[in-house]
């Protein structure tokens, strides 16, 4: 049930409609920091393979790729190709939640969040103490361009991700991944060569 595949006509819970397993989207992220008057804006592309994982490729103002596999292995691939495993538990958790939202993994999300649906908005409220400490809620809104994901944090350092140009893919592998991202960072991690 990938979230990326939702169309503007759907008026129900954004997470409800099952779609294709392979997805592409572009993102614009706004990050707010306490004490910083205006948000930090970055842009990039997302690739989803519901069997393998998610790629977050930031194109500007810096270039880097985050690889979140569903086998719980996460990497940061820098512009120069340097691959760093992500060790920080909080960073892994946040990345995992975002990847699951993009994938539309209801089973996972229902374990950790209570869902509220209102018009075109779905709100995820954390049910566990550990998540509640960091996340107040996550809101999923339909927009004319696609979907907006807003992460409201308890420390007000909120994050808003606008997904647009969303489309289903018929095929996704290492080669097509590189072509879609117009870069070759991270694809080898998500689609490792078979021996």
């Amino acid at each position: 049930m990938p979230l990326l595949a939702l169309s503007a006509e759907e008026k129900q819970d954004i997470l409800d409609t099952p779609k294709s397993c392979l997805q592409y989207a572009e993102f614009r992220q706004e990050k707010r920091l306490e004490g910083l008057p205006k948000p930090l804006v970055s842009r990039g592309r997302i690739l989803l393979d519901c069997n393998h994982g998610t790629l977050w490729h930031t194109q500007m103002p810096i270039q880097e790729t985050l690889v979140y596999t569903f086998s719980n292995k996460h990497w940061l691939v820098k512009a120069d190709g340097e691959v760093q495993p992500i060790k920080n538990a909080a960073q892994k958790r946040i990345g995992d939640i975002l990847a699951r939202i993009v994938r539309g993994d209801r089973e996972f999300l229902d374990k950790y969040f209570r869902r509220e649906t209102e018009a075109n908005t779905t709100r995820l409220l954390p049910t566990q103490r550990r998540l509640k400490k960091y996340i107040d809620n996550i809101t999923l809104d339909e927009t004319p361009e696609g979907v907006r994901v807003t992460v409201v944090r308890t420390d007000n350092q909120n994050m808003q991700i606008d997904l647009s140009a969303m489309r289903e893919l018929t095929q996704l592998d290492d080669l097509s991944c590189r072509a879609l991202l117009e870069a070759d960072t991270g694809c080898a991690q998500l689609f490792p060569a078979k021996d």
Partner: protein, 816 residues
């Protein structure tokens, strides 16, 4: 109505008994009120059994803190042959724990993130002092472009996805970068990570679950609840995931296992002990009153002892209860002696005898002396056992005297069979019951013991306390091997007089360790204050390096113009704040005070005084002479301990502490000291006997406990049973109980009915044997050692008492 000449003394005695009884009741009520305030706490900690370690007070406080922290941790590992099975079981466990957390369960996962978050708030007060090592290298070597790129990655990239610091305090993200690094260092194994290990030649996958026990985690009730909750979670998980193995490690599991064994022992000892005593009382005295008075003496004594100990220590150790259960056999002795005495000399008789009372008091006194010796052991738990026993026996004695008029009102003794048995025993012993023969036996025994003293087997290892459950031990060893955690009972202590000095010594040790490949642990290094906090010098160096961010014009231009993140005014303010903070340093002392959740690796004293004096004298620096610092370094598992120990020896003021060795040395010291005290106690008792009964009789009386102790020694020599501190401590009780018998024989044998008191002694020995004999069957080695020794002592003492009856008769006839 004629008035008996001694009626005044009888009334005074009765009044004194009544006062003593009501005083005891008043004390009991106060103690019970005290318990109602504190609540019932039964301690099962094994640490409190070990002797105090031979360190200075500062080091000891540090080690106690570390031990307490280690004992409050528990680890569960889920493991299987396939990663998918572990992942599924872990997901189930995670959900289950989250559900239970909201239902106020005691079982809660440890959350180092909380302490890490508090730490970050503290770091923000020194925002320029901390740099991740890689950033420190970058700042000292890289140019403008690399610096700008790094800052942009922190702000826009994934590096800044987790933002622990505020922009105002940390505009370039350098402190956030350090905070994340610190969080990684402090978090340890995370249950989200499925790890792999080769076990018995095959790959095993596992996840690690750390639990923090509540403050009262080792109290019996809290422990039982915690274990029950965890067992329920385990049962649920194992029902659903049959291929997943559940391993667990932690002091609480061993403590709970020992407590369970001790509880079973207590139930058997108290159950069988009371049943046996009730049977004996019914068979011999055949009346409700003597039975009720005896049982009340036991029950009252145990309640009184429990209340007193609990009030004094605010808790009671499970081992105290176990030893205390053996009190049943001793407490009933007073009733037995009283019934035999009153049967022979009814209180309404024309010439009522009163010599029983001084004998009873002397008997209580000797038991108190015997139990007091336990208090000299230096082990708090044995001190508690001593107080428990003394309080219990004293109450039982007072109760027996108080209830005397009621209990002996219709007293009947039917002990024909017992009398025949006793007479038979005395008859058997008669040919050998000669002073010369007894001296020869005693000399022979002691000659053999002294000649073969080198053949005795001694055991001073901590295993003298408990035998760990093999399954738990296997779990513990596997987890320890897989996780490569820290040694729980071996530390390195570093002493010094200033922060810089201590950090310098740690640095030297760390370099030595790094170059010699001692640790053999890829995951972990020595954990010390240097892991949690950079040295003052390092902090100042980081401050200097941080200046690169604030003085770099290219970066300022990128921030203010290219990316318009902040204005030029804001940049100027940030530079001003950086300059203001120059020279500020976070000290280990402040860190420990502000973050109680961190491992207490640093203790110091004298600083406040030093600060005060320094302030008075207008000095800013504290004189090193005023301060004493000790800090601990934790050693990763799988370390080559011998090599590390050798390395530690090379460094000044650096000390190797092994609690197992310390405990062994402590137990050895206590055992040898106790042996000397035992000799001294025998001399003292000999002196008392000579003072009361004259030189000839006194020496004969003294001969018996000396011979009994020698005989027990010979048994242990022949059987090659390893002798522990508990065997020696039990020998004190043997002496106390033996003297108790001898006093009764000596005091009562002037009367014609003295043979009847021999029956009382046999009954007394039977009840004591029942209790201590059951103790000797305990699965806890300490308890078993105690029970076996006292049991042997009771047999020896009874034989000695029989000899004495005959010898006494002979002496009396000779005197006539």
């Amino acid at each position: 109505m004629p008035v008996r000449p001694d009626s005044g003394r009888v009334v005074a005695r009765r009044r004194a008994i009544n006062i003593a009884f009501f005083l005891a009741i008043a004390i009991l009520v106060i103690a019970l009120v005290q318990i109602s305030r504190t609540g019932l706490v039964i301690d099962t900690s094994l640490r409190s059994l070990a002797p105090e370690i031979s360190q200075d007070a500062l080091s000891e406080a540090l080690i106690n803190d570390l031990s307490a922290a280690a004992s409050r941790k528990a680890v569960v590992v889920l493991t299987a042959d396939a990663a998918a099975q572990v992942t599924a079981a872990s997901e189930h466990l995670r959900t289950k724990l989250a559900e239970l957390e909201t239902a106020d369960y005691r079982v809660r996962q440890a959350d180092p993130a909380e302490t890490a978050a508090d730490y970050v708030r503290l770091l923000e007060q020194y925002p320029y002092n901390f740099l991740r090592p890689s950033l420190a290298t970058l700042l000292s070597k890289s140019g403008d472009a690399e610096l700008s790129q790094w800052v942009l990655e922190q702000l826009y990239g994934s590096a800044g996805q987790v933002r622990l610091t505020t922009f105002e305090r940390d505009p370039f993200g350098a402190l956030n970068d350090y905070a994340i690094y610190l969080q990684e260092q402090m978090s340890g194994d995370h249950p989200d990570d499925v790890q792999t290990v080769v076990h018995n030649g095959a790959s095993r996958y596992f996840t690690v679950w750390q639990f923090e026990l509540p403050e009262d985690g080792l109290a019996l009730n809290a422990q039982a609840e915690w274990i029950a909750e965890l067992d329920a979670i385990r049962a649920d998980l194992q029902t659903q995931f049959t291929n997943v193995e559940w391993l667990q490690s932690g002091v609480i599991f061993f403590a709970a296992d020992s407590a369970r064994a001790a509880q079973q022992n207590i139930n058997v000892i108290s159950g069988v002990g009371i049943a046996g005593i009730v049977l004996i009382m019914i068979l011999v005295f055949r009346g409700a009153r003597p039975l009720a008075a005896s049982v009340l003496a036991i029950v009252g004594g145990v309640i009184f002892a429990f209340a007193i100990c609990h009030s004094l220590w605010s808790s009671i150790h499970i081992l105290t209860l176990l030893f205390g259960a053996s009190l049943i056999g001793v407490a009933v002795d007073y009733s037995l002696h009283l019934y035999y005495f009153r049967f022979a000399f009814p209180s309404n008789a024309a010439h009522a005898k009163t010599h029983f009372y001084p004998a009873l008091l002397l008997s209580l006194l000797t038991s108190i002396v015997g139990y007091s010796a336990l208090a000299m052991s230096g082990l708090e738990t044995l001190q508690q056992v001593a107080v428990f026993s003394i309080a219990g026996l004293s109450f039982a004695c007072v109760w027996v005297l108080f209830s005397e008029p009621w209990a002996v009102k219709t007293l009947v003794i039917k002990d024909g069979l017992l009398a025949r048995f006793t007479a038979g025993c005395v008859q058997c012993i008669r040919p050998f019951a000669k002073v010369k023969f007894m001296i020869a036996v005693s000399l022979l025994l002691w000659f053999v013991v002294i000649v073969f003293v080198g053949r005795f087997v001694f055991d001073d290892s901590p295993k003298a306390f408990i035998t760990p459950n093999p399954e738990l031990l296997e779990n513990e060893q596997r987890i320890s091997q897989w996780l490569g955690e820290y040694e729980p009972a071996t530390f390195i202590l570093v002493h010094g007089a200033s922060d810089a000095e201590v950090f310098g010594k740690i640095d030297r040790l760390q370099k030595l360790v790094d170059t010699s490949n001692i640790l053999n642990n890829a995951k972990k290094n020595l954990l010390g204050i240097h892991t949690l906090l950079p040295s003052p010098e390092e902090q100042l160096r980081h401050q200097q390096l941080n200046g690169t961010f604030y003085r770099n014009d290219a970066l300022a231009h990128a921030m203010t113009s290219t990316y318009e993140i902040i204005s030029a005014e804001q940049m100027s303010e940030l530079r001003g704040h950086y300059e203001q903070q120059s020279g500020a340093v976070l000290t280990p002392r402040e860190l420990m005070q502000r973050l109680p959740g961190l491992p207490h690796l640093w203790h110091e004293e004298g600083q406040e005084e030093g600060q005060q004096e320094a302030q008075e004298e207008g000095e800013t620096e504290i004189s090193p002479a005023d301060r004493r610092i000790v800090t601990a370094l934790l050693i990763p598992k799988n370390t080559n301990l011998t090599s590390l120990r050798d390395a530690v020896k090379l460094l000044p003021d650096t000390q190797w502490v092994s609690l197992v060795e310390e405990t062994r040395n402590g137990l050895h010291h206590l055992r040898t000291t106790a042996s000397y005290y035992l000799g001294f106690a025998l001399l003292l008792i000999g002196g008392i006997f000579i003072w009361r009964y004259g030189i000839h009789r006194g020496l004969v009386l003294s001969l018996i406990p000396i011979t009994v102790i020698g005989a027990i020694g010979l048994v242990y020599l022949i059987t090659q049973m390893p002798i522990t501190l508990f065997h020696v401590m039990a020998a004190f009780l043997v002496v106390g109980l033996g003297v108790d018998y001898l006093v009764f024989v000596a005091e009562m044998s002037d009367e014609e009915e003295s043979r009847q008191f021999a029956n009382a002694l046999v009954l007394s020995a039977a009840t004591s044997s029942l209790s201590f004999g059951l103790l000797s069957l305990s699965v806890l080695p300490a308890v078993s050692a105690f029970g076996t020794t006292v049991m042997l002592g009771i047999i020896g003492n009874l034989a000695g008492a029989f000899c004495l009856i005959t010898v006494w008769q002979t002496l009396k006839e000779t005197n006539r």
